[in-house]
């Protein structure tokens, strides 16, 4: 309970800070007024169409990545698992690259995230086809690695054959991940899918708890592994697919956040699910605030900052584990 409260407060405080922060300095009164549509129309525009989508997307994308990371680690019973393992983010990136390369992205605003999303769902379909609905966790990982590798190779191929240097430039920057210049329509596209995926992943708690005893033990406790696996794949595809589609590839959240919060949850996979969702939101908000504070004029990319925060944290955790072991 205490953990839930502190994580919620932390996320709320960071969310507020993110709303206060932007290219044009606004007084706190204008920020709040602008949010509810009162005051200077320019402030209203800045708040509702620029800062609100950005902050809301940071919360949603962070929550999606943290939650699916916790679910994936719980399912595979491996603290090194992350949502990208099943190839969803790699395939979403491939979809985005194709949209940028083919010029589809310029045709209409949501072409890029929609293509990315389509590819993410396609990847899960392919994995199900490869691993089979009854396949064990090992076949799932192998299928995920195969799909990731294929998506990575095709992305490189698209870059390799690119005749348009501007498209190449855009692709490289898109792949670094960012929440800058996202609109309400991005939010409208991602929010329902992340909510649906997140709600699906939150139903996994019982099953993941039971999996502490291994697959045999969990099944004997009345958990259907087939249903668990399907819900995990669908939830991850929807949440991470939508997150990657609007924000690009943002790594480390799904890996580091569950790892960081596990000791605070008594290592229980079901508690770790919602805790990681909140923790992921807080971490991504922090990174997105850092992006805007550190080098505001250079358009620092979110994925880059996230990795710069995440990798040392991860190293620290490994160091602590080594001492404990």
């Amino acid at each position: 309970m205490k953990l839930a409260l502190s994580l919620t407060l932390l996320t709320a405080a960071l969310g507020l800070a993110s709303l206060m922060l932007g290219y044009a300095p606004l007084p706190p009164r204008a920020v709040l007024g602008g949010l509810v549509g009162a005051g200077d129309p320019l402030h209203v525009m800045v708040m509702q169409e620029i800062r609100l989508p950005r902050t809301a997307l940071a919360v949603l994308v962070g929550a999606a990545l943290g939650l699916s990371g916790a679910a994936m680690q719980g399912y595979l019973r491996n603290p090194l698992a992350e949502p990208g393992l099943i190839g969803v983010s790699g395939s979403a990136a491939l979809g985005a690259v194709i949209a940028l390369q083919s010029g589809l992205a310029a045709a209409f605003a949501l072409a890029l995230p929609l293509t990315a999303l389509l590819f993410a769902l396609g990847a899960v379909g392919l994995i199900l086809l490869l691993a089979g609905p009854r396949g064990g966790s090992l076949t799932l990982i192998l299928a995920g690695i195969a799909v990731s590798a294929l998506a990575g190779a095709l992305t490189s191929l698209a870059l390799n054959l690119s005749s348009n240097p501007y498209a190449t430039f855009e692709i490289v920057f898109w792949m670094m991940g960012s929440l800058a210049d996202r609109s309400l329509s991005h939010l409208a596209l991602a929010a329902p899918l992340i909510a649906l995926g997140g709600a699906t992943l939150l139903t996994l708690g019982r099953g993941l708890d039971a999996l502490t005893l291994g697959e045999d033990g969990a099944q004997a406790l009345g958990i259907s592994m087939t249903s668990l696996r399907l819900r995990l794949l669908f939830g991850t595809a929807a949440a991470v697919g939508a997150a990657t589609a609007v924000a690009g590839a943002v790594g480390f959240v799904g890996l580091v956040v569950p790892h960081l919060l596990r000791p605070l949850c008594g290592a229980r996979p079901s508690r770790l699910l919602w805790a990681s969702a909140l923790g992921g939101a807080a971490m991504l908000l922090t990174a997105d605030i850092a992006v805007r504070l550190v080098l505001p004029e250079r358009d620092l990319k979110l994925g880059v900052v996230m990795a710069l925060i995440g990798a040392p944290l991860f190293l620290h955790l490994i160091y602590k584990t080594r001492r404990a072991g």
Binding site: R77, R206, D209, A210, L211, T212, L213, G214, D216, G217, Q219, A220, L221, G222, I223, S224, R262, G266, A267, R268, P269
Partner: protein
């Protein structure tokens, strides 16, 4: 009413039958020992009986829904897996998953009883992964007991335990049987099986070679034929003692 009824249960791996037309029933009050050499099909039989493996023939447990089956039988797998550093209490409480989670007090009492029974009260707040192998085994048995199912299926629960813990574990199973539960336990230690089980089922290459009271099943002829062992069964004031003497080639 029997708690487990297997009828012509058969499991094949490729063409080869690993469990071959096994029929048996387990009644309340029985502590049935499942014995047989390595590869005789003990684990496969237990897992198929639970419906965890595709099989032919019928198992009364496999026909139940997953939830009902979890209330009818608890399963103690041979691999002692504890994936996360949860506390002993949390781990034991996993046994309550198949039951209605709203009945909080009933849940807590079941966990308490199981902890007491396995003498784990002092360990309750310790991390399960930080315990020794033998202690972990006891925690996992407590987890299965907390499920409070009428039937307990245990796959080599005493493997790797010290002698006192082995006897202690089987005494817990005997007590369960006396209380009207039933236990089907696979064992390698034939003396323990003879002394603590009410009945033994001897598996040989997937088939039931013998099924009956321990002293009738463990004859010297069967030891030679199934286990390739020369052994001696001693009737003592302390009950039957079986001493394996030599390997027959």
């Amino acid at each position: 009413m029997s708690l487990l009824a297997l009828d012509q249960l058969t499991v094949t791996r490729g063409q080869c039958p690993v469990v071959d037309s096994v029929s048996l029933t387990v009644e309340p009050g029985e502590c049935v020992g499942l014995i047989g050499p390595n590869g005789a099909g003990k684990t496969t039989l237990l897992r198929a009986a639970l419906g965890l493996l595709p099989h032919r023939g019928r198992s009364s447990l496999a026909t139940l829904s997953a939830r009902d089956r979890a209330r009818a039988a608890a399963w103690l797998p041979q691999s002692r897996e504890i994936a996360w550093p949860v506390t002993v209490e949390t781990l034991v409480a996993l046994g309550r998953l198949p039951h209605d989670s709203r009945a909080g007090r009933v849940q807590a009492r079941a966990v308490e009883t199981a902890l007491e029974r396995m003498e784990l009260g002092a360990f309750r707040h310790r991390k399960a992964t930080a315990l020794s192998g033998g202690e972990q085994a006891r925690v996992l048995i407590a987890r299965a007991l907390a499920q409070e199912a009428p039937l307990l299926l245990a796959d080599e629960p005493v493997a790797g335990l010290d002698p006192a813990s082995q006897i202690f574990t089987l005494q817990v199973f005997e007590a369960l049987a006396r209380e009207g539960h039933a236990v089907l336990v696979s064992l390698h230690d034939l003396t323990l099986a003879a002394r603590h089980c009410t009945r033994l089922v001897l598996l040989d290459r997937g088939r039931v070679a013998a099924d009956g009271p321990p002293l009738e099943v463990l004859t010297e002829a069967r030891l030679a034929e199934v286990f390739h062992l020369r052994g001696h069964m001693l009737e003592t004031p302390h009950g039957p003692l079986l001493q394996p003497l030599d390997v027959l080639r």
